[in-house]
Symmetry: C2
Subunit: 144 residues, 2 copies
DNA sequence: TATAAAACCTATTGACAAGGTAGGTTATTT
DNA sequence: AAATAACCTACCTTGTCAATAGGTTTTATA
């Protein structure tokens, strides 16, 4: 299950994509707009700065803005950076988590396939896709 | 993330599909074969009995067997019964978990789409598919 | 009919991660 | 200098997972 970290991160990125016309947006504003604890966001969002996905500016007049066009961010990469793991089962998380029966496990391919399906889906959606979709939705949530 | 409950349940069902030629198989045997705590399985497997997916027999000579053909069980239904939730995010779990912003949330369609992709994948795999696949794999895990 | 063996039931526990809160430090503009 | 913003690190509370434990009920066999 995707945790609040990943969900909040995505909402912040969408907020930035939507509200920044090349000027810096403060986390304070985003936190208020999204109704998320600013303190909590402060430990999530710097991750993207380290990966050069955001440009940060400290001090008066500072804030964040995207470093690239919204179509160059996928939901998949945003979640990979913020979620502890996107693996659908523990035995696919790390090598050390791999179970000793992996070599003969008849169900392993099920989980590998699930992971593939998920990742392909998440890698196929960009921030721009979300912005485009939002225009369609404007005001209702019936058409999904 | 799929928990041990769901993973173990699937392994037990595959074990039954594979090892039962219409006779009852004890949880003791399955637990030993799968190297899973029998006591733990005892609180998972009766779920399937209640749903008439398994036939249980108590007492001497008793055990479990499938009530239908392996091709009539999907991974999806097995997981839905054993996992607390298959929703990819908390806000899709229950109505009471739905967030107040749902009506205007620009990211909600992403999660709904993810859920759909996952469920379609899991509903598309049967126990028979797993048995068939196992023959191919026999002894190696290179071809996935 | 006693006994063994099986499923079934319910409570409890220990560990761990999620989801924050708190209090500070560093950088930058006015 | 002062205000404001990002950034860092430690802590804490709560809930769930993954079992373990100790029983009860059912049924075939000796």
């Amino acid at each position: 299950m995707i945790s609040t970290r990943g969900r909040y991160a995505l909402r912040v990125m969408v907020d930035l994509a939507k509200n920044s016309q090349n000027e810096f947006i403060t986390l304070k504003d985003i936190a208020k707009r999204q109704d998320i604890s600013k303190k909590y966001l402060e430990q999530i969002i710097p991750i993207f700065n380290r990966e050069n996905m955001l440009i940060a500016s400290r001090g008066y007049g500072g804030g964040y803005k995207l470093s690239k066009s919204p179509k160059e961010y996928t939901v998949g990469e945003i979640l990979r950076l913020t979620e502890s793991s996107l693996a659908p089962v523990a035995c696919l998380e790390t090598k050390s988590n791999q179970c000793p029966r992996a070599g003969s496990c008849p169900t392993l391919f099920v989980w590998k396939g699930l992971q593939k399906v998920e990742e392909e889906y998440l890698n196929g959606i960009t921030l721009q896709d979300i912005l485009d979709r939002e225009i369609d939705l404007s005001g209702n949530d019936y058409n999904i």
